[in-house]
Subunit: 339 residues, 2 copies
């Protein structure tokens, strides 16, 4: 009998998740019932959004039920199938969970992927997955950057942020990236071609605001926001007239048990007649092929570079997930499950 290791959420985190909020269990794997198939998960995406799904606050998806494995986008191969559209050996990606095997009902985000053209199937979790597509549609559709404008990206060394910066550059914008620590800031300049890198560590709100002002004396036209807190507030203090803020994530406050900080300087939206757009990639599913094709072309032309930070082993899921919040990861965080 096959054993399925499953990384369960057993308690809702209060502030930063702790190891005891999760439990790695072993369960027998049953064959798929009619209409479903079993997916052997090879890679799982680790994303800040998962922290939100662990809470029971109303959100765009139901909370992960307690006692169930942590929801995650995965890519893997069909192990056994009781539905005609999926055959053993097919590569498939979808919204599954942190576990060796997922029982999948076709539909929703589940789709076959062609791994023959990519360097690694994990790229369907980074550049060709929600991360790359969030950067692509978030920046271009919600941000509407124009050539010559200045784009400010927070979390700029992360999976989404690094792609946003490169797309903005391709579109003829001046790019300013904010990240934590000198190593990440060096990557911003050397790998992702940001014009300016700002290290937020050790800076007060006013120092951060002054650093942005020095880098963008005429203000920023687009903010792509992944972080929130002081970083968002400093950005809001440096808006150009009619700026667009793409609100993609607020990782700085996901573990804040004391409540939401939000956008304290929202008054600046009035001063600069700026607009803040809440962005979620789920709205762009019908256009995924268009986005992925363009991202692939840029990759092939050497104009887009995507880093993946791959940790190995389901037993390391907690430690790997927490790197998103400590900032230890260097690129899109991925967990390799099948070794």
């Amino acid at each position: 009998m096959t054993i399925n290791r499953r990384f369960l959420l057993v308690r809702r985190p209060n502030g930063a998740p702790v190891a005891a909020d999760f439990s790695l269990i072993e369960a027998p794997l049953a064959p798929p019932p009619p209409g479903k198939f079993i997916l052997r998960n090879h890679f799982a995406s680790l994303d800040p959004a998962q922290r939100g799904w662990m809470s029971d606050e109303p959100s765009y998806m139901p909370p992960i039920p307690l006692g169930e494995p942590v929801r995650a986008t995965t890519v893997g191969r069909v192990e056994s199938s009781a539905c005609p559209e999926y055959a053993p050996g097919d590569w498939v990606m979808g919204l599954n969970a942190l576990e060796d095997f997922s029982l999948v009902t076709p539909g929703g985000f589940t789709a076959k992927v062609d791994v023959s053209k990519v360097a690694s199937p994990s790229q369907f979790l980074s550049v060709f997955g929600a991360v790359g597509l969030t950067a692509y549609f978030g920046l271009l559709e919600a941000g509407q950057p124009q050539a010559g404008e200045t784009v400010l990206v927070s979390g700029a060394a992360g999976g989404v942020g690094s792609v946003v910066g490169q797309i903005a550059k391709i579109k003829g914008c001046r790019t300013i990236g904010i990240a934590g620590g000198p190593a990440k800031c060096r990557r911003l300049l050397e790998e992702y071609h940001f014009d300016v890198a700002i290290d937020y560590r050790g800076k007060t709100l006013q120092q951060l605001s002054a650093a942005i002002a020095a880098a963008a004396p005429r203000g920023v036209n687009v903010i792509f926001e992944n972080v929130g807190g002081d970083i968002l507030d400093a950005g809001l203090q440096n808006l150009a007239m009619r700026a667009r803020i793409v609100l993609c994530g607020l990782i700085s406050e996901y573990n804040n048990a004391a409540g939401h900080v939000g956008a304290r300087n929202v008054w600046q939206l009035i001063v600069k007649r700026a607009t803040m757009h809440g962005f979620l990639i789920a709205d762009y599913v019908p256009r995924f092929a268009e986005g992925a094709a363009q991202l692939g072309l840029w990759m092939a032309e050497g104009r887009l570079h995507v880093d993946e930070h791959i940790d190995v082993g389901l037993e390391n899921a907690y430690a790997a997930f927490m790197k998103l919040f400590s900032g230890e990861n260097q690129g899109k965080m991925v967990l390799k499950i099948a070794t």
Copy 2:
């Protein structure tokens, strides 16, 4: 020699303005130099925005210089003129100051007005001024309300809010107004035809949120925000998918010496893919005639009712201004200067 009483800002308020931040002085009135004219101010508009102009925080206008009279939109008659376009007796409105007489340079917002068609020249400071036009363009252009949608208005008994609610109703929307105290809530229902009135006084954030949820079980499609703080946060907890938030003012925090509260629940913009637009009427100057004409038609048809709360006497400027923050005013706050 004519004496000009002038209501000066002599100190930047720290938190709520106090009487000692101002000084009413008497100065001799000089004749206008070439190219300028002297306006006898009959009515002055008192607006929350003036509190912002008293601060030296960067904003959409330079701060009122210390020792100068408090900037205000006024309407009055030309007293004497040294420019050909304006003759003594002409009625004029413009961005002037709280003083008996203003020395005016033609241009900017200054414009002649035809008082023969209006009930009182003060209407150029309410329905046909920035207040009515902010409601008109803010709701219709930034808010884009559709018939059948639900519109939530904060500060709903105020100058802007009361007009927003009535326009939303004319456009076929369901309207929910938030105001302070039973008298204002009664006015919301009886005079401004709101479908639901919510009294925010004595309610916690969660109670306020629950009251909005009860009034709009499917969420609110448009928020017209004049207040901020708990009221904005409660609104953000009740957004319908793809809601639009027109950020027009944040009166709850203008006197907050401790710093900005902003929008703590800005995360909900992502959850609901909502958009927050900073709105300032100054962007719509070229379309003022269009807006004023439509507002006038609705007035003539009896579909739009605008209340003015007129206090009398420059010596009462401070007390009248502070009613904006205590909520004592019943309608658009106006100061009658010439008696």
